[in-house]
């Protein structure tokens, strides 16, 4: 059962072929058996999940209407609030912090009878591309336990890839859903900025953050979007748009769709990923899509722009973690300044400190104009360039990452790690919807992902094209050894 899709599991439950308790127990058993190897979860909600499953079984028995996600277990990245449970953000600072309220996505999931099965590991405060920056534990890639699952939502990606649950949520600020989805051979989706409420997501870069789903199929990802992709009054940046209908458009027909590829930007791409990507484009062509060359030269600045804007926002977003109101307060501190200094010194890991310093610097008097303001201008140009390109094509295709999953500890230079996000960051800068779907494997058996990026608000178009590709490929059906 564990290799079924969420929709298949839900339908079995709705038809009465299986109980919610059995579903939950199946996945909890898998977590118990394998997660000591993978390390996807920071918290597993054994009792809570079983209790919810029992209630759901009773609800079905009583003949009450059941939700779109009835009986489906889902994992949540540990920077998204589930009321009453810890939200550690994989930081020492918040090891004692219990969420005082439900995130909007949590509320919407439970309203549709999903069962939250646990909270997953991440790079501390979602800052990283490998989940190695978690202050709490290592997470390994189910396809190759020596490797990272990517990041920052590595725990959620690994959990779905290992079939510990059919669905998970992550957050994507510069690629943190798409990159681990690519490394773990599953579907990862970053919606249009504002499509999913950020209420209850611990902010990293507020103007870039989006919560997004992980699934083993595009249909499952679409189903989650139908549940959570709606306006939210608690988030001022939430799109004032009605909920979209995704699944009914999944007819596999992308004939005549123009897909832009910025070949010039891909010159540096290594031979193997280039071949896999080209083969995927051929598949799209065979479906009747037209591949057109587009100029996205502005993308060469995207990493620089991103690490200025994201860290600037983060330096203020994280200022609230000061040891005064919640979280860890240093036991050594005797004065107010010491509470600030020692609590931060002890509470934050090196990458978080590095980014707060960087963000503080780029906003400082004398530097703000040459860094922060300049970066904002380039961001505006990026948005404009995409707008221009989408006059010529319907979607843009890019590899999700220039690499496959790398070994834990292999990349020591943080700047080298920042380059992981080279293809994913632009969608965040421009607020665009973007999906990563399995597009093949490297010779050493590691998954690769293809990214499809659409114009703002065209979430349905992006997932529809991904679904058409998925219909004629088998990559998403492959299972890592521990899920076979």
């Amino acid at each position: 059962m564990h290799s079924l899709s969420a929709i298949e599991i839900r339908d079995k439950f709705l038809r009465g072929e299986i109980s919610a308790v059995t579903i939950v127990e199946t996945f909890l058993k898998r977590i118990e058996k394998y997660d000591h190897e993978v390390g996807a979860f920071l918290a597993v909600f054994n009792e809570r999940a079983i209790q919810q499953a029992k209630k759901l079984d009773e609800k079905r028995k009583a003949g009450h209407k059941l939700g779109k996600l009835a009986g489906v277990p889902i994992a949540i990245k540990d920077n998204i609030h589930v009321k009453g449970e810890l939200s550690t953000c994989a930081s020492k600072f918040l090891t004692n912090y219990r969420a005082p309220f439900d995130a909007t996505v949590t509320r919407l999931l439970e309203a549709e009878d999903a069962i939250i099965i646990g909270k997953t590991n991440l790079d501390e405060f979602a800052m990283g591309s490998s989940t190695e920056n978690s202050a709490l534990q290592k997470t390994r890639n189910p396809w190759n336990l020596k490797c990272t699952p990517g990041g920052s939502s590595g725990g959620s990606a690994a959990a779905v890839a290992a079939r510990f649950c059919p669905l998970a949520f992550g957050s994507d600020t510069g690629g943190s859903v798409r990159l681990p989805a690519s490394f773990c051979g599953i579907v990862g989706y970053k919606p249009t900025y504002g499509r999913v409420s950020r209420y209850g997501l611990v902010a990293f870069g507020s103007s870039l953050d989006q919560i997004g789903p992980f699934a083993t199929t595009t249909a499952d990802a679409a189903l989650l979007m139908e549940v959570v992709g709606r306006h939210c009054e608690h988030d001022s940046t939430s799109l004032d748009a009605p909920q979209e209908d995704y699944l009914s458009s999944f007819n596999g027909d992308i004939k005549g769709m123009r897909i832009g590829v910025p070949w010039q930007f891909l010159e540096q791409l290594a031979e193997e990923p280039k071949q896999v990507f080209s083969a995927a484009l051929e598949k799209l062509k065979s479906l009747g899509a037209e591949i057109v060359d587009v100029d996205l030269s502005i993308l060469k600045y995207s990493i620089a722009v991103y690490y200025i804007l994201a860290t600037a926002e983060a330096s203020t977003n994280l200022a609230r973690f000061d040891g005064i109101r919640y979280g860890q307060r240093s036991a050594r501190a005797k004065t107010l300044d010491e509470v600030y200094d020692f609590s931060k010194e002890e509470g934050y890991g090196p990458e978080v400190k590095r980014r707060i310093l960087l963000g503080t610097y780029v906003l400082s008097a004398g530097y703000k104009d040459s860094y922060y303001k300049k970066a904002q201008q380039v961001r505006t140009l990026t948005i404009q360039q995409f707008k221009g390109i989408f006059q010529k094509c319907d979607l843009v295709a890019l590899p999700t990452s220039p690499f496959t999953a790398f070994e834990i500890g292999a990349i020591k230079d943080p700047l080298q790690l920042y380059l992981e996000d080279i293809y994913t960051i632009a969608a965040n800068l421009a607020g665009l919807p973007a999906v990563s779907i399995p597009e093949g494997f490297s010779r050493d058996g590691k998954p690769l992902g293809m990214q499809l990026i659409g114009p703002q608000k065209q979430d349905v178009r992006v997932l529809k094209a991904a679904n058409a590709f998925e219909k004629v490929t088998d990559y998403h059906k492959a299972l890592p050894e521990l899920a076979k």
């Binding site: 998204i80 609030h81 939200s87 953000c89 918040l94 912090y97 969420a99 005082p100 309220f101 995130a103 950020r198 209420y199 209850g200 997501l201 611990v202 902010a203 870069g205 507020s206 103007s207 009054e233 608690h234 988030d235 001022s236 940046t237 600037a312 926002e313 330096s315 203020t316 200022a319 609230r320 973690f321 000061d322 005064i324 109101r325 919640y326 107010l336 600030y340 503080t360 906003l363 400082s364 008097a365 703000k368 922060y372």
Partner: protein, 487 residues
């Protein structure tokens, strides 16, 4: 220099007014003063991770109302910014304010200074959220976040104020406008109206501005006047006594606070270098976009403003400009006046009783006429009794004392119940007094006959004095006229 130097003060005020909205600027937590600490709070006001600000439309409306009331330009596009600084009363360690694109630009305020109207220019008005409050205990400090997130407008004047009196007049005019449009409670003691003054001095004729001193902690207009005066004197004294040193060293930028006990400004901290607040646009909020229709809707539905009411009192009630200005300064007092006016048409007398007689009696009680318990109808009755000659002006003052002592007691009953308050109408009784006064003040009679009207008033006064204020003024007048003409 051979002649004494002529100094000029240059003052700018930053007025923070808490808006009296139901909920806070960015959350649904109640905006209420005086409750138990940390009861009016939620996830936004305590800066919980994952919480997001949502703008209160009522606060925007009140800010726009104020902007319209001072004839300012309302920005159709304005935005919020993060202002970073670390302090425990700031729940996110950044304040959400408007840095370079405020909601209100320019505008002006008319106030009366020493009987003269003066127009003061406003630079800008912006929206921001208030901080919590630190409370110090013997072994620790606590933070009360009830105030955190309360909506504020900061009203920044141009440096167009040149004396402490002008500063107070401007401040009171701003307060009056805020009260008339019901935007703020303006209670300086509770901190819902807080004023910081930037003060510098220069030699008259000098073009540039010298270093300024910011004064905080002035919780009343009278304290503000004292503080600014003291600071101006201090600065002039410093410049005069250290004339040989470079100007910028004599007074360097700093923040002072007013010490009401010592009656002097006291140094809080020096500003060695400008604070770096690292302003940047608040990404959790979208810009405020206002339409012309929205702005015009607010402009056209503004209530009567203090200046309009003052002008109306002058033209319709023939009040002297100064009285009209004074009585319209506090909306509640002006409303009280109008209520009394419904029962008694003697506007000047009512105004005088409110601004002089009762204000004087209330001065040391800390109360105003509004919360004294004396209804406007009683004031109207008191003045009407004087006008009808039922009581004399002198007796009315005693009746007013009784009204103060027993608020709510009808002045007509007070007069009826007290034989001492019945005026003497007995012609014979008064005639005795008139004769006595004439006999003792022949010089005044001579003066009056020589054309000095004041002498007659003096004689009336003497008779009233002898009667202990009880003689009917009409009878006294008549008798005096008769007797003098027959002399």
């Amino acid at each position: 220099m051979n002649h004494p130097t002529q100094w000029e003060a240059v003052i700018g005020l930053e007025i923070h007014a808490e808006l009296n909205t139901k909920s806070k600027l960015f959350s649904s937590a109640p905006n209420r003063f005086g409750d138990e600490p940390n009861t009016n709070i939620n996830d936004v006001c305590t800066g919980q991770p994952g919480a997001l600000p949502v703008l209160n439309k009522e606060a925007v409306r009140k800010a726009v109302q104020f902007g319209c009331a001072i004839n300012a330009q309302i920005a159709k596009f304005s935005k919020f910014d993060r202002k970073s600084y670390f302090y425990p009363d700031s729940p996110r360690n950044f304040q959400i304010t408007q840095f370079d694109e405020p909601i209100v630009l320019g505008g002006s305020v008319v106030a009366e200074v020493d009987g003269q109207e003066k127009v003061f220019a406003v630079n800008r008005v912006h929206l921001e959220d208030d901080a919590g409050m630190l409370k110090h205990f013997p072994t620790f400090a606590g933070v009360d976040y009830n105030r955190a997130g309360v909506p504020l407008i900061e009203i920044v004047s141009e440096p167009c104020i040149h004396s402490a009196r002008e500063a107070a007049a401007y401040g009171m005019a701003i307060k009056a406008i805020l009260q008339y449009i019901d935007a703020s409670d303006c209670n300086m003691e509770e901190g819902s109206l807080r004023i910081d003054a930037n003060v510098s001095v220069r030699v008259k004729g000098e073009k540039g501005l010298r270093n300024k001193i910011e004064i905080k902690n002035m919780n009343s207009f009278s304290n503000m006047e004292l503080a600014i005066d003291a600071e101006i004197k201090r600065q002039i004294h410093e410049y005069t006594n250290h004339a040989s040193r470079p100007q910028h060293e004599i007074i360097s930028q700093a923040t002072y606070r007013w010490d009401p006990e010592k009656k002097e400004t006291v140094l809080m901290r020096r500003k060695e270098q400008a604070d770096d607040y690292r302003y940047f646009p608040e990404p959790d909020l979208v810009p405020i976009i206002l339409t012309d229709a929205y702005i015009e809707g607010i402009r056209s539905s503004l209530p009567e403003l203090p200046l309009q009411r003052e002008r109306r009192y002058v033209s319709e009630l023939a009040l002297p400009a100064h009285s009209a200005f004074a009585i319209t300064l506090d909306k509640k007092i002006a409303d009280y006046f109008e209520e009394a006016l419904k029962l008694c048409s003697n506007a000047r007398a009512l105004c005088n009783w409110i601004l002089v007689e009762f204000a004087g009696r209330l001065k040391d009680t800390g109360k105003t006429l509004i919360d004294s318990g004396i209804p406007a109808s009683h004031l109207a009755k008191l003045v009407a009794m004087i006008d009808k000659g039922t009581i004399t002006g002198r007796i009315a003052k005693d009746v007013a004392d009784d009204m103060m002592a027993a608020p709510g007691k009808d002045p007509e009953q007070i007069v009826a119940a007290n034989p001492d308050y019945q005026p003497v109408h007995d012609q014979g009784e008064i005639e005795v007094l008139v004769d006595k006064v004439l006999a003792e003040n022949m010089q005044s009679v001579v003066d009056f006959k020589a054309g000095r009207d004041k002498a007659f008033a003096f004689l009336v006064g003497q008779v009233m004095k002898l009667s202990r204020g009880k003689a009917s003024p009409q009878i006294v007048n008549d008798l005096l006229n008769q007797k003098i003409s027959s002399l």
